[in-house]
Symmetry: C2
């Protein structure tokens, strides 16, 4: 049967989600745990919804795999969490249709980028945030972010994983301040490689006043170069949405 | 001149605050940074308000030291934060009276213990919290915590750092739920060794229903044994208060 796992991980000590030779990856740890618990002779392949980069976190990554497990799912769920390393856990485990794909049936992915906007380093807050000491105009950043919403060519902000289609549909893009924290949330059908981090890097230029909102639009039109990608530790894949019907079975 | 530093640190990779041979300590890192920046031939000694244990964090530890620094304090502050490792930072640096002591002039210390009350492990929340899967009766825990307030003998919950005086004055003790998080805050003039962590361990018995509020009072009276100390990662020294006059100088 096919199963969908919603996975949380602290990306700090991973070389990203996707399997890589001689590197510690989330996919590799999930496959190792599955092998240990199910004892299947054949290696179980895990397919993730988004291939998060090294250092990027997730609180709601989706991943599917097949298993011949016959006992209640709750037992598999608990057993997997017992053997998975401390920096990964499976939040939920549900049966899905045999042709379900965590990647291709996802209708949207939501990423959140966290900025700590404070003059002094904060060791207790920087494992999951980027420190920005300059004052940030969050209203301007939010107005610029709104330019991203809709079906557009995002080639200015990233490269496609393969082929050359750089059109994506952004459903939501907002910037909010909560005390010292500035949170940037973007939901889209899919993302290009480094897209969120380069958008955040460019929004930071707007926040610091070195790029106007009108110039931010011109970045989208490729008339001005986008900012550099910000570091991975502030980024978190918070949710992957699926069509309701494909995750209901059994 | 004498200086008071308010220090934040992630205690995960420290063998506690206080200097120990061949161990990585907060005091050791502060003294090393001071030596590097001031170039003083004599080693500068740093005295902390509270000697937090290995793995315990701080967002507001107080520490004093003497320095012959002659340039503006802001320059020393910035230089120290530039050379300190990522898991320590100095939040503020102020001149104090030559006989000021971060330890003996402190009027109170506040500790916060964070519990993640959820059935499933959460890698993104457990660096600074203890996972407790059983449901917790937070109202009962809060009522029990109130028994701690006042000048009392806390010998049941800890040992004194030296001598045998186990009387301490607790100003505030409260337990609050914020979603999945249960926060326990205790402010006292001073604490015994392991006192907060054994209080939390005993409050957890109340929360799980294995100890009544009346029995919690009996622990204070040493008629019932206190619970085990909870692990260090949930504990954070959030504030050290000083009399206003001793920190005003210059």
């Amino acid at each position: 049967m096919r199963l969908l796992a919603i996975v949380e991980y602290d990306g700090t000590d991973f070389a990203g989600f996707q399997l890589q030779r001689n590197q510690r990856t989330v996919q590799g740890e999930l496959e190792r745990a599955l092998h240990k618990i199910t004892g299947d002779a054949k290696r179980i392949r895990v397919m993730g919804a988004g291939r998060t980069d090294a250092g990027v976190h997730a609180s709601g990554q989706g991943a599917h795999f097949d298993s011949a497990w016959e006992k209640p799912l709750e037992i598999l769920h608990r057993a997997l969490n017992a053997v998975l390393p401390n920096d990964i856990s499976i939040r939920s485990l549900t049966q899905v249709a045999p042709d379900f794909s965590a990647r291709y049936n996802a209708t949207s992915r939501t990423y959140r980028y966290t900025i700590l906007n404070h003059v002094i380093r904060s060791p207790l807050n920087e494992r999951y945030a980027l420190l920005v000491s300059e004052p940030l105009d969050v209203d301007a950043m939010n107005a610029a972010a709104r330019c991203l919403i809709g079906e557009k060519d995002f080639g200015a902000f990233g490269t496609p994983p393969r082929g050359d289609n750089t059109v994506r549909r952004v459903y939501r893009a907002q910037v909010e301040r909560h005390g010292d924290q500035v949170l940037i949330e973007i939901e889209a059908n899919a993302f290009l490689y480094r897209m969120v981090r380069r958008i955040v890097g460019t929004l930071l230029q707007v926040g610091k006043g070195t790029l106007s909102i009108a110039e931010f639009s011109q970045v989208l039109e490729r008339k001005i170069r986008a900012g550099e990608a910000v570091p991975p530790q502030g980024l978190c894949l918070t949710q992957v949405k699926y069509e309701r019907q494909v995750t209901r079975i059994g």
